[in-house]
Each structure stands twice: as C-alpha cells, then as structure tokens.
C-alpha cells in the first residue's frame, strides 16, 4: 500500500466497510457450503472439480446400469436354468420309458402305453421349451416371435444372441440359450426324437436302440446347456461384486470432490465469525470518537 499520511474520515469508514463486507461474503459462502453439503456450488468456483463431478456422476449412473444389467441377467438365467432342469428330467424319464420298451418282457400293449406316456412328455417338453420370461420366450433367440417351437416341434426362433453389457469396455455376457442349444438341432431335436420313439414303440420296436442313441445325444446337449448356464451365472455373480465395488469407489471419489468437508468448513466459519466480530468491534470503536467529542 502506498504510504498515506492523511486519513480522510469518509475513506476510513469506507475501508472498514470493505473489509467487513468481504468477510461477511466469505461467511455467506461457507454457510452455503455447510447447509447444502456441496463444496462446489457453481463451475467457476472450481472448474476442474466440476468436470470431475460431472464425469463421476455419469460413471455412477453407468455403473448402476451395469449392476441392473447383471441382476437382470442372473434372473433370466435362473429362469432358464429352471426350465432346462425340467427338460432334463423329462428327457431322462423318456429314456427310462425307452429302456422299458426295449425290455424282453414288453408287449405291444405295454409299448402302446409307453408310447402314450412319451406323447405326454413331448407335450410338457413343448411347454417348457416355449416358456417365457417377462413376456418374452426364453429359448427363441432374439426374434420377436411369441414362441420358440411350433406345435409340430420345429424351432421357429433364430440364433441371434441376447447379451447384456457389463462394463465400459463393452464386454458382454450372453444371458440366453436358444432352443437348438438345449434341445438339439433340426431333425435330431428332442421333439423329432420323441416322435420317432413313440412311432417305434407303436410300430417298429426294432428301431428303439437307434432311437436311444439319438435320445442320449439330446440328453448330452441338455446337460451341456445346464453346465453353460451354471458357469454364466457364476460369471455374473462375480461381475456383480466387481461392479458393486466400482460403485462404492465412484461414490467415494464423488464425495471427496463434491461434498463439503464439514469439520474444515465449520472451523473456518467459526474463525471467520470471530474475526468478523472483531472487525465490527474495531470499526465501532474507531468510528465513534473524533476531535469533536473532546471539544467544548
């Protein structure tokens, strides 16, 4: 400051006002930070902090999306697993019936009964294969057709995959299995095999051993599907933990940038308050006396 030898009454009070008002401005800012809980009220207070907050918020949103994707995937795969388990059971039951039909003591009459049972299995298998999850067929790939198999047991879905994104890099996990992957492909699928078995039981018992071979291959396919689903669910569960961790980290980082450090702000506010009061007191005692008070 330039040396000032002469103080003017007006400028003295102006200077006092200046320092008092700049203190009360800082106090208002601190109070806003404490009451809102946010350290950055507007971008100009901390431009680079603002960028971090915006980027972290976007990341937080994405991470919770991935978490939802993963949860949804697990739900869908669990529904798939239930159906595949039931399909497996039905197929094993069918295998038992074939063995009974092959037995030396079987007669045309018992075989006809067995064939009828096979028909029942085929129709309940069709129900399982056309099962839907949230209004969408589980096993028809990515087509919008309502079912995966028609009444004749032909696959009418497609082989497009349904995947879900699990991270920023675009990694995806497949959350569905299509019909052929569970029930076999084309003429060798479960429905064709069961139809052939029913026919053999009724008309040509000699074909039963060959039918059994085809049925075993369908069962192997279904078992494979079970294993695939199990491993995918495990993968998603692991990803769930990873994503939950990421969400925690991002939330922590966001709080570090964005949230008011309450202890620091409150202490600073108290200090400001003290010096504000001191300044007010000083102003009051400086401004009162003038030579006028001491003259008669």
């Amino acid at each position: 400051m330039t040396s000032i030898t002469r103080f003017a009454t007006g400028s003295q009070s102006l200077q006092n006002m200046d320092s008092v008002s700049s203190m009360s401005k800082r106090m208002a800012q601190l109070q806003e930070q404490i009451s809102s809980g946010k350290a950055i009220q507007r971008a100009s207070e901390d431009p680079s902090g603002t960028r971090s907050v915006m980027a972290l918020r976007a990341e937080q949103t994405r991470m919770s999306q991935y978490a939802q994707n993963i949860d949804n995937g697990v739900l869908r795969l669990n529904a798939t697993r239930t159906q595949v388990d039931s399909i497996n059971e039905q197929l094993l039951k069918a295998r038992e019936l074939v063995l009974q039909g092959q037995a030396s003591n079987s007669t045309a009459g018992t075989r006809a009964t067995l064939a009828a049972q096979i028909d029942v299995i085929a129709s309940s298998l069709l129900i399982a294969a056309n099962f839907d999850f949230a209004g969408r067929a589980l096993f028809n790939g990515a087509t919008s057709a309502a079912t995966a198999y028609n009444a004749g047991g032909d696959y009418i879905g497609d082989t497009n995959q349904v995947t879900t994104r699990v991270d920023d890099s675009g990694s995806t996990v497949r959350i569905e299995l299509n019909g052929p992957e569970v029930l076999g492909v084309g003429g060798a699928n479960a429905f064709a095999v069961l139809t052939a078995i029913a026919d053999s039981l009724r008309n040509t018992p000699g074909n039963l051993p060959a039918n059994l071979v085809s049925l075993d291959s369908v069962i192997a396919t279904a078992r494979g599907a079970q294993a695939t689903i199990g491993s995918r669910i495990n993968q998603l569960n692991e990803l769930h933990d990873v994503t939950a961790d990421r969400i925690l980290n991002v939330t922590g980082a966001l709080a570090a940038v964005e949230d008011t450090d309450l202890t620091k702000s409150v202490m600073e506010l108290t200090m400001q308050q003290t010096s504000y009061e001191a300044a007010l007191y000083a102003t009051a005692s400086i401004m009162q006396p003038s030579l006028m008070d001491f003259l008669r």
Partner: protein, 443 residues
C-alpha cells in the same frame, strides 16, 4: 504609521478568519459528498493585515486521470464478469438437474431398452427423456438470447446517461469559464465536473483533457465527444443483428474500447454468441450421434431406424419421434418378416455418452471453460477493484475531508478571530485613552 491602521489590520484578520471558518464549515458539510474535494483558504500577509488570496481546491489532476482510466477498465470488467456469471446460471453445473444429468438419463433410457427390447415402458421413457433434453437445450438457448437482449437494453440506458453526463460536462465548462477563479463557487463546479467525468469514464471510457483555459474535453478514439462548450450525442444502433454504438451526428461507429459500454458490446457481439455456438455444438453432436445410431438399427417393427432428433442448434433441436416402438434397438435385420428383439443397437446408443467429441464431452468442455472464464473474469475484476481502491485512498488522502483536521482548523480560525477582536478592543482602548483621557490637565 497612520493612527487608525491598527483597526484595519484587525478588521482584515476578522474577515479572513470568517472566510476560513466558512470554508471549514463547507468542508464539514461535504464530508460524505461523492467527488467533493476539500478546500483550503490561502492567506497572505498584506500591506495592512492579512489577505485571502484564494480558496484552493485540493485536487490532483493526475490521480483523477488514473482513477478515470481504471474506472473505465473496471466498468468493462464488471460487466464481463456479470455476463459470464449469468451464462453460468443458465447452465447450472454441477447439479443433479442440469443438462449433464439429463444426458445421463437419456443414455440410461437406452440401456433400459437394451436390457429388454420388448419393454414398451422403457421405450416410451426414452422418448420422454429425449423431450426433456431438447426442452432443456431450447430453454438454455432462449435464456442466452434473453441475456443478450437485456444487455442491449442496458447499453441503450447507459448511452442515454452517458449523453446526459456529456451534456453536464459541456454545461459545466461554460459555467466554469464564467465564474471567477479561487472561489468556493468555481471549486464546487469543478468538483461536479470531475464527478461527471468519472461517471462518464465508467460508462464509455474515453480520453479526458483539461486545457489552459480550464475547459474539459472528452474524446472517444480521437473523435470529440465533449468540446469546450458543446457535446455530441451517442446512440445505439442495431442493424442486421449487429448492435453498435454510433455518433448521432453522422451514424458512424463510435470507438469504444472500455467502460461498461465495451463490456455490453463484447457480451452482445462476442461472449454470448460464442457460448451459444458451443451449446449448438453440443446439440448438433447429440443429434448426429443418436441419429446415426438410429440409422444403423431396426425398430420394433423391423423397419430401419429413422432420426430421433431434428434440428442441429440448441434453439431448434426437437424430438422427431413420438412412438417408443420407433427406437431402433435391434442391430439385426428382421428375418422372414419377423422383427428381432436384439438389443445391441440400444446398447451401442447407451454408450454414446462416452463418444469422443460426443454431446457429453463437448458439454463438459463447455462447462469447464465457462467456469474458468467466469473465474478469470472475477479475479481480474477483483484485482482491478483493489487497484482502484488504492487509487481512491490516495485521492482521498489528498482530497477528502477529515473531520478532526477541520475541527482543528475551525479551532485555529476561531481563536484567530477572538484574538483579532481582542486586538481591536486593545486599539480601541488605546485610542480611548488618547482621545478622551489626554489633555485634561488642570481641568
């Protein structure tokens, strides 16, 4: 020595002390008058007694000039900083309700569709979010236009008051030339003139000169604004979307390089359009990236996706689709007339927020550089304000009134007056002795 000269001496002192007390009274009366310069009585010893040679105005022309220059700079910076703060309020970030949050909500909407493309609610949600987003952009563009319009109005008001200050200076020039020098009256006029000049400088800047005959002239970029006895007028003209300040006399542009006026002109011509352009880039990137992604996919009926957004500026961007089914979520073409429920394209759209030079990145750049600009303007204006305060205190130390000092002066003059009166009494007594009591011997 003449017999009665002592009386004249005492009288001159009585008169001089009275004038000095009047001036002290004037100073005290004006302790809080803006622009007032304190006055001092210059007394000189005369042949008989004392003379009041002049009443001086304690004012530094150089400091006044510096204060005007800095005042003009500060006027410019204050407006610039205010404008940037206003623009910042249009785009409130960081916030949970700003444009960034709305962009995030749109991308989230696409991710919801990707999770289950047959979910009609998620599709409707995306259309709604897109509408919220375009409304926000439209509103921001509108607010920027409003800010620009309000500053055009401010500029018009400012030019009106600048004209009246110019007129005041010209009139004061005339009054000053007609008032005798070294009097309280001329000092008051000169104070009024320099106060008007400082107000004019804050408004439009300019160069201020006081010539040898005590006339103040003001010029803007070499063109005369105020002459010794006359002044020109300024007007605001808006032609072809460009706002400028012109001379009324010939409609030519006035050279304004500082003061509030320059702040307003810069805001209207440069600052606000620049941030509008940045915001337009955000809108354009949003429309382009989303529309391109739409074109790459197929909607729930299996038809190729069409544009979700129309318009490429913040003011004109709007949502072109009304049906959620039109969101091209699938990247797989329909097979045999049956649409695919594939969600890869919706998934790709959910990741558009992270595209290089996409809407999010451009918007974040905008917010950050706007933040830096506002911060910088604020700091510069605070620096100049501090500098201005130091000039003001220097001026005050020279020109402003100190009541203590005036009281002390008053005391001195009062005592002087009393003493002169005593001198008069003493001389009177002496003369009384001489006239009435001498020559009475033997009576």
């Amino acid at each position: 020595m003449a017999t009665f000269s002592g009386i004249s001496t005492a009288l001159s002192s009585l008169q001089a002390q009275r004038v000095a007390m009047d001036v002290a009274g004037q100073n005290i009366a004006n302790v809080s008058t803006p622009g007032y310069s304190r006055q001092r009585v210059d007394m000189t010893a005369g042949a008989i007694g004392v003379d009041v040679s002049s009443i001086q105005r304690l004012h530094s022309g150089i400091l006044g000039d510096r204060a005007r220059t800095e005042g003009a700079r500060l006027g410019d910076l204050t407006v610039t900083s205010t404008v940037l703060n206003q623009i910042e309020q249009v785009l409130p970030e960081p916030s949970t309700s700003g444009l960034q949050a709305k962009l995030d909500a749109l991308w989230t909407g696409f991710a919801d569709i990707a999770r289950d493309t047959s979910n009609a609610a998620a599709r409707i949600q995306v259309i709604a979010q897109a509408n919220v987003l375009t409304d926000t952009l439209n509103d921001a563009a509108q607010q920027l236009t409003n800010i620009s319009a309000s500053h055009t109005k401010n500029l018009t008001n400012l030019v009106t008051s600048a004209n009246s200050y110019a007129k005041q200076i010209a009139e004061l020039n005339i009054s000053i030339s007609q008032t005798p020098e070294g009097t309280t009256a001329i000092n008051a006029l000169m104070d009024q003139r320099s106060y008007a000049a400082s107000q004019l400088a804050e408004a439009v800047g300019g160069t201020y000169l006081i010539d040898s005959s005590n006339n103040m002239s003001v010029s803007l970029g070499g063109a005369t604004f105020v002459g010794p006895a006359n002044h020109s007028t300024l007007q605001v003209a808006t032609a072809g979307g460009t706002t400028s300040v012109q001379w009324s006399r010939n409609d030519s542009a006035a050279a304004i390089s500082s003061g509030n006026a320059n702040g307003y002109l810069t805001a209207i011509a440069t600052t606000i359009p620049a941030w509008t352009t940045s915001l337009n880039a955000v809108a354009s990137a949003l429309a382009t990236t989303v529309n391109n992604a739409q074109a790459a996919g197929f909607d729930s009926a299996g038809t190729a996706g069409t544009d979700l957004f129309t318009g490429t500026t913040a003011a004109t961007i709007s949502v072109a689709l009304t049906a959620g089914s039109k969101i091209a979520a699938s990247s797989v073409a329909p097979a045999g007339g049956v649409a695919s429920l594939n969600g890869s394209n919706a998934d790709a759209m959910s990741a558009l927020g992270r595209t290089a030079n996409g809407a999010d990145e451009l918007y974040q750049d905008l917010v950050v550089s706007l933040g830096f600009a506002a911060q910088g303007a604020q700091q510069t204006s605070e620096t100049v304000q501090a500098f201005m305060a130091s000039i003001t205190s220097q001026i005050d130390s020279q020109s402003a009134v100190n009541i203590d000092e005036e009281m002390a002066n008053l005391l001195t003059y009062q005592r002087g007056y009393e003493a002169a009166a005593r001198v008069l009494t003493a001389i009177d007594d002496a003369l009384d002795t001489l006239i009435n009591r001498t020559g009475l011997v033997g009576r």
